[in-house]
């Protein structure tokens, strides 16, 4: 990646509001990240952190009203998606940017066979004939390691197991060779053994296609196993972003540190958990200043007043939105 070629996907200071009759909710409030070719970027956040809304905004799946993108830009290879005419945007969906949803059972049409749904992509976007498109569908199912693809192509979604359905979802997302794939909690609904299979598959496919993968999840384990870089979201805002190893070994934000100390881990048997107090805020009532300050162990009065700017920490590309980022970063991880 030379400096003059624009990154694959660049989201800068994105803000999304929901304007309902009962008030305005800022679901995303200043999200920035950069995704490069062949890279996996994890968007880590809890429920209500705005991570799914942000993904839908990038995909152009939000309905206006009630959702309004009030600020920021989403650039795909330097081209601003938000200011694109709607037809171009729609054409980019699936062909350049595509998405894997959490719940494959609701994301697939239950009355059409898997083959119909896969081949439709080729017929609509590539104008291929029925036979050719179906052959492509079978090849695609082979590619996502669905056994006996030629036979199963005529099955309906409910005839597949959870893991196989998620593979179908992945096949659909990859059908038109997109440059960016957004996976929104792709394994949350799955069991651990199946989750491991799906994550391995995504990695293999990424190695084949050099796609940029945006992995949206709340699972610290999945992120650690899959991500190259990580952006942590809290209450709609990026609070920290760093390379995966850097983030886990030397977090620069008290929230990230709190998360790491509070999950039970197989590799730290019997070690006491240090929980984060309180609960994540509702998007409708985000605290002033630093949104994390009511739960932060080291908050000072000014944290409630001033929203912290991003501090760049020692390591390249490690940024944290905390007034005490340097100190937190320096403290050893216990």
């Amino acid at each position: 990646m030379s400096a003059d070629t624009p990154p694959l996907l660049e989201v800068d200071d994105l803000c999304v509001e929901f304007r309902t009759r009962r008030g305005t909710i800022r679901a995303v409030n200043g999200l920035s990240y950069t995704l490069h070719e062949g890279e996996t970027l994890a968007l880590l956040g809890e429920s209500g952190s705005g991570k799914s809304v942000a993904a839908q905004a990038v995909m152009g799946l939000l309905d206006t009203p009630p959702a309004h993108i009030t600020r920021g830009s989403v650039r795909l290879r330097g081209e601003d998606l938000l200011s694109m005419p709607p037809e171009h945007r729609r054409a980019a969906r699936g062909t350049r940017v595509s998405m894997i949803f959490q719940d494959a059972l609701t994301a697939l049409n239950p009355v059409l066979t898997v083959g119909d749904q896969l081949s439709e992509m080729f017929r609509v976007h590539r104008g291929e004939g029925r036979k050719a498109a179906l052959a492509r569908a079978v090849a695609l199912m082979d590619r996502v390691r669905i056994p006996a693809a030629a036979r199963r192509v005529h099955d309906y979604p409910h005839q597949f197991s959870g893991g196989m359905r998620q593979r179908v979802m992945i096949a659909m997302a990859l059908a038109l060779d997109p440059e960016v794939v957004i996976a929104d909690e792709p394994t949350t609904a799955l069991d651990v053994t199946v989750q491991a299979q799906i994550m391995r598959l995504l990695k293999q496919l990424q190695d084949e296609t050099r796609m940029g993968l945006l992995l949206i999840t709340h699972d610290l384990g999945v992120v650690a196993q899959a991500a190259d870089r990580i952006t942590v979201m809290y209450a709609g805002r990026t609070v920290e972003s760093a390379g995966a190893e850097d983030l886990y070994t030397r977090p620069g934000h008290p929230y990230t540190r709190g998360l790491l100390d509070s999950v039970p881990r197989l590799d730290r048997m019997g070690k006491p958990l240090v929980p984060i107090n309180g609960a994540p805020p509702l998007p409708s009532s985000v605290p002033t200043g630093c949104a994390f300050h009511p739960r932060c162990p080291r908050a000072e009065p000014r944290c409630g007043r001033e929203a912290p700017p991003y501090h760049t920490l020692s390591t390249a590309g490690h940024r944290s939105a905390c007034h005490f980022a340097e100190e937190v970063h320096r403290a050893p991880v216990g």
């Binding site: 809890e46 429920s47 197991s161 959870g162 893991g163 196989m164 069991d191 651990v192 053994t193 199946v194 989750q195 491991a196 299979q197 994550m199 391995r200 709340h218 699972d219 610290l220 384990g221 999945v222 992120v223 650690a224 196993q225 991500a227 995966a244 190893e245 886990y248 070994t249 929230y255 709190g258 998360l259 790491l260 100390d261 509070s262 999950v263 039970p264 881990r265 197989l266 590799d267 048997m269 019997g270 006491p272 958990l273 240090v274 929980p275 984060i276 107090n277 309180g278 609960a279 994540p280 739960r295």
Partner: protein, 337 residues
């Protein structure tokens, strides 16, 4: 297991516990065409003040097992003994007294509290059901104590569930379960519906309660790390059967069943420096349907070591003298690990 615990009579014991759900066809004339073998011959014992973890993936029958152990559902065969009594042979009055000794914390704090009752009513309901437990005059004070025990502000007793966060709601559920002073608490995935940053609060609370109240616990979860954190002894379930039981150290450091090892290998460790390199232990395929489990060893369709002998069902038994039973013909030993 310490010999002391062995001496005390078990608080909860299940023997050859089985629950099959019939599959019927036809609208008017229902014909029985098969059965989902949700729980199929489970033996387990919980001693006082001990914590037993039950780990398994969805569809392994762990929630059905929970219902059976709590006498909410009748087994197809086999028996449950709670504190020396068989709940299914008791009159409803006697069963109610048994219920004071075993209680349950449910998974989803958003659905397990009646939305039209206040926190105080929810936590005080056990006393309304068992008026003999606490004198009427003392109930208000007892509810406040319970709320404090689980870390809630007693002045919030008039709030409705929706005014609490997920973690606080789960605390309410725990307070309700503790109201009658149970000796055993069964927790069915008590933190899986909570936000990551809140899970630790509830796990720590459960750990404190267990210690302070000398509670026995049965902790059911799909999350190995959570179970590992809380439990003394662990049983691993696969397709309605227990495939391995042992102490926490035995299960996590020297798993003997290939399924246990695969579960451990698949669990993502939150440390990028420890990426799972050993793809060899990852399983292929999905869980077979419990309506038509494989013959013989149920794990053989996904087992990397399956051989002809696995067509014969293995018993859950100890081998080599160690107190670490597995249901596998070829358990993992240090030599072949």
């Amino acid at each position: 297991m310490p010999p002391l615990a062995e001496a005390a009579p078990p608080l909860l014991q299940a023997t050859a516990l089985t629950r099959h759900f019939p599959i019927t066809e036809g609208v008017l004339l229902k014909r029985r065409t098969g059965a989902v073998r949700a729980v199929d011959g489970v033996d387990l014992t919980v001693h006082p003040a001990e914590t037993l973890g039950i780990v398994g993936e969805s569809g392994c029958g762990k929630s059905t097992l929970a219902s059976l152990l709590m006498a909410l559902d009748r087994p197809t065969s086999g028996s449950v003994v709670i504190d020396g009594q068989d709940p299914f042979s008791l009159s409803s009055r006697e069963l109610r007294t048994v219920r004071r000794r075993v209680q349950m914390v449910l998974q989803d704090p958003y659905t397990s509290l009646n939305p039209r009752m206040t926190a105080g009513q929810i936590v005080g309901e056990p006393f309304a059901i068992h008026p003999e437990a606490v004198r009427k005059a003392d109930r208000g004070r007892r509810v406040d104590e319970l709320l404090e025990t689980v870390g809630l502000d007693p002045t919030h007793r008039d709030r409705y569930p929706h005014q609490f966060s997920g973690g606080q709601r789960q605390r309410l559920g725990i307070a309700r379960a503790l109201a009658l002073g149970p000796r055993l608490l069964l927790c069915d995935e008590p933190v899986s519906a909570l936000d990551v940053s809140v899970q630790a609060q509830v796990l720590n609370l459960l750990q404190e309660l267990r210690r302070d109240l000398r509670l026995a616990c049965v902790f059911i979860s799909h999350d190995l790390a959570v179970v590992q954190h809380l439990c003394d002894r662990i049983a691993v379930m696969y397709l309605g059967k227990i495939v391995e039981t042992g102490t926490r150290e035995q299960i996590y450091t020297t798993p003997r069943h290939p399924y246990t090892r695969a579960l451990l290998a698949a669990a993502p460790v939150p440390d990028p420096r420890r990426r799972a390199a050993d793809d060899e232990h990852l399983l292929e395929g999905d869980l077979p349907s419990p309506a038509s489990p494989p013959s013989g060893c149920r794990f053989r369709t996904r087992c990397p070591h399956a051989r002809e002998q696995c067509l014969v069902e293995p018993e859950l038994r100890t081998r080599d003298g160690a107190d670490h039973p597995t249901a596998c013909h070829f358990p993992i030993t240090r030599r072949n690990a």
